[in-house]
Amino acid sequence: MERNEILKQVNAIFVDILDNEGLVLNDTTTANDVEDWDSLTHIHLVVAIEKHFGIRFTSQEIQSWNNIGELVDCIASK
């Protein structure tokens, strides 16, 4: 799947789970930029992404991303 397409789908998952219609993500977005994206919500987002793409992240991967770009790269590598 194209990186752009992955980003688009990840964006849709964030919008749904954070219940934030106007949210637009890009490669440099971090947790600090997004309201309500705390460590617990993070795991909720991760599980939703896993389910959506039919993949599993390792425990280390989940803590390793510094921004959305790295998350998208990780999905693309699966």
Binding site: L40, H42, I43, A48
Partner: protein, 573 residues
């Protein structure tokens, strides 16, 4: 069932007007998502849970410190979630010689916690049991050795059940069962555990919240009392009208086995007090035939409280069943294999529960097991007799139609009532009726067995339990009054509820005559009544007005000195 994401959207709904319940949640792992799930699930149950969540791993501090926030909050329900993972951690760290007493130690701790809670709060305790972890240190041999973790874990779950049988206000929430049917691979997700200290996977949260809410709702008097069965392809395989008695599928062969097992399940429900009704599109005589003649039928006519088979639409028939049984639609479950009938009933009777039965009858039971439809917090001898009581009620309805004059009808019943204060024989039934009565209930204050015992031992309260029997049979204990001494002049009617089985029999008059008489003899001059409206007790809105009480602010007053006994056809036994 809703996913966690879907559930979370409930949190933005308007909770105004829903029943408020104060719940405390204490866990030894991260419980934030569980708390969100509980509140959101509560919304779907019509409850506004106000939840106080203990800080992480504060169970003992909160419970044993009587000055803690827990006691300041005064919860009606306390949920305690001690995880298997943390228990395993304790096992890992403890000395070898202590391994064999792990379960015993944990049980003692739980007992001490319950004692502390019970002496400082009037609360119900919901305790999560332990989903299994097999650490595989001993292999299968773990089953043969006391000190293995698996041995201790299973012992603990079993001993918890034993403990629950002795502890009236202690309820186990069986999350071990949830792991059994969903599988550990889906109830526990390692990455979630490692990153958040949560032992429940995101997908499991709604299920655990639902199981917890099932208990809370039942404590509040909201639970299922009746199951209504379709016949063709639900109770047996095939269509009796087309296939005939010999060819319907039931018994020990092929798909017949699924229907037989389904019937055994229904029979067990009946034996534990669930009312069974039939609603079938069939000619009545044809529909009855298997119940009377088929050798493999498990269910028989005397298992069925109300039997309706005709060609009218099912929503109307279910309304008729409801009017005979006199219970709320929200306490009924309708089982039908036909999606059209299911939708029709759902649309016309929104409150009834209509499970989406799987297309393959072989899957019915496994599916129904997972729904946990029939939660209860009590079980008494009365439950065994319920079907008979409702069958007799149907006979009375027939007799009443023969009398044009209601007085003549009531006289012909030869009614007798036994009036007693609470005692060790009637307390379980009094408590049960306190949970079950919704419609004829003036204040809807729910009392458990423990509460009732306290009241019956108190000098401030006077208690009355009424039975009613007539020529058709004994209805058992059907009405309860608790009077509270307000001052030396007046008695407050703290509790007045009655089973709807005995409506329109003059029982209200008999009860009022009895308590007015009692008040006079004890030197009181006034009875004070109060009506607290709920979604279900509109029936008794004008109860005190109709009985001649006079309104004074929110209260209703009866002067017992000038009260004249009301006419009624019930005699004291």
């Amino acid at each position: 069932m809703k996913t966690f994401s879907q559930l979370k959207k409930n949190l933005k709904q308007d909770f105004k007007g829903l029943k408020k319940i104060k719940v405390a949640v204490l866990g030894d792992t991260a419980t934030q998502f569980l708390v969100q799930s509980l509140r959101a699930t509560g919304y779907d149950f019509g409850c506004d849970l106000s939840i106080w969540e203990a800080d992480f791993n504060q169970i003992e501090r909160q419970i044993f410190d009587t000055q803690s926030e827990l006691y300041e909050f005064q919860p009606e329900v306390v949920v305690i979630f001690q995880s298997t993972h943390k228990l395993l951690g304790i096992y890992n760290k403890s000395k070898m010689e202590n391994h064999a007493v792990l379960a015993q130690q944990r049980l003692m701790e739980i007992e001490e916690m319950c004692n502390a809670l019970n002496s400082n709060l009037n609360t119900k305790i919901i305790y999560y049991n332990y989903p299994e972890i097999n650490d595989s240190v001993f292999g299968n041999f773990a089953n043969k050795i006391q000190s293995s973790f698996l041995f201790q874990l299973r012992k603990l779950n079993f001993e918890l059940m034993q403990f629950a049988t002795r502890q009236a206000n202690f309820y186990l929430c069986d999350i071990s069962t949830i792991q059994n049917y969903l599988g550990k691979a889906s109830t526990f997700q390692t990455s979630v555990y490692i990153n958040t200290e949560m032992v429940l996977s995101i997908d499991t949260l709604p299920v655990v919240a639902k199981y917890t809410m099932d208990i809370i709702a039942t404590i509040q008097g909201q639970f299922k009392k009746c199951v209504i069965l379709d016949l063709d392809n639900t109770t047996w395989g095939g269509i009796i009208g087309d296939d005939g008695l010999e060819n319907i599928q039931i018994g020990s062969l092929g798909i017949g086995k699924a229907f037989t097992e389904f019937q055994y399940w229904i029979k067990k429900l009946k034996n534990r007090g669930i009312i069974i009704a039939v609603c079938s599109k069939n000619t009545e005589s044809v529909a009855c035939e298997p119940f009377d003649k088929h050798p493999d039928m498990v269910l028989r006519m005397d298992d069925i409280a109300v039997f309706i088979a005709n060609w009218e639409n099912k929503a109307d028939n279910i309304r008729q069943i409801q009017s005979i049984l006199n219970i709320g639609f929200d306490s009924m479950v309708f089982l039908d294999d036909n999606p059209f009938e299911r939708n029709m009933v759902r649309e016309n009777i929104p409150d009834i529960t209509v499970p989406e039965l799987p297309t393959d009858p072989a899957d019915y039971l496994e599916y129904l097991y997972t729904l946990n439809l029939f939660e209860t917090v009590s079980f008494s001898n009365e439950d065994l007799e319920r079907t008979k009581l409702y069958q007799v009620q149907a006979q009375r309805t027939v007799l009443q139609q023969k009398f044009t004059n209601e007085e003549d009808f009531l006289k012909s019943l030869n009614m007798l009532s036994l009036v007693e204060s609470f005692n060790k024989f009637n307390i379980p039934r009094v408590a049960q009726l306190s949970q079950r009565s919704n419609q004829f209930n003036l204040r809807t204050v729910r009392y458990t067995e423990g509460d009732i015992e306290l009241i019956s031992n108190s000098d401030n309260f006077y208690t009355f339990a009424f039975t009613l029997e007539d020529k058709f049979g004994d209805n058992g204990l059907i009405c309860v009054i608790i009077l509270k001494e307000e001052n030396k002049d007046a008695l407050f009617i703290d509790t007045w509820f009655m089973s709807c089985r005995v409506l329109k029999r003059g029982m209200e008059h008999f009860v009022l005559n009895t308590i007015s008489d009692f008040a006079k003899k004890k030197g009181f001059h006034k009875l004070i009544g109060e009506y607290l409206p709920t979604a279900k007790n509109e029936m008794v809105m004008n109860h005190y007005l109709n009985l001649g009480f006079e309104q004074e602010d929110k209260n209703w007053i009866l002067n017992t000195d000038t009260y004249e006994n009301k006419k009624c056809y019930i005699n004291k036994k």
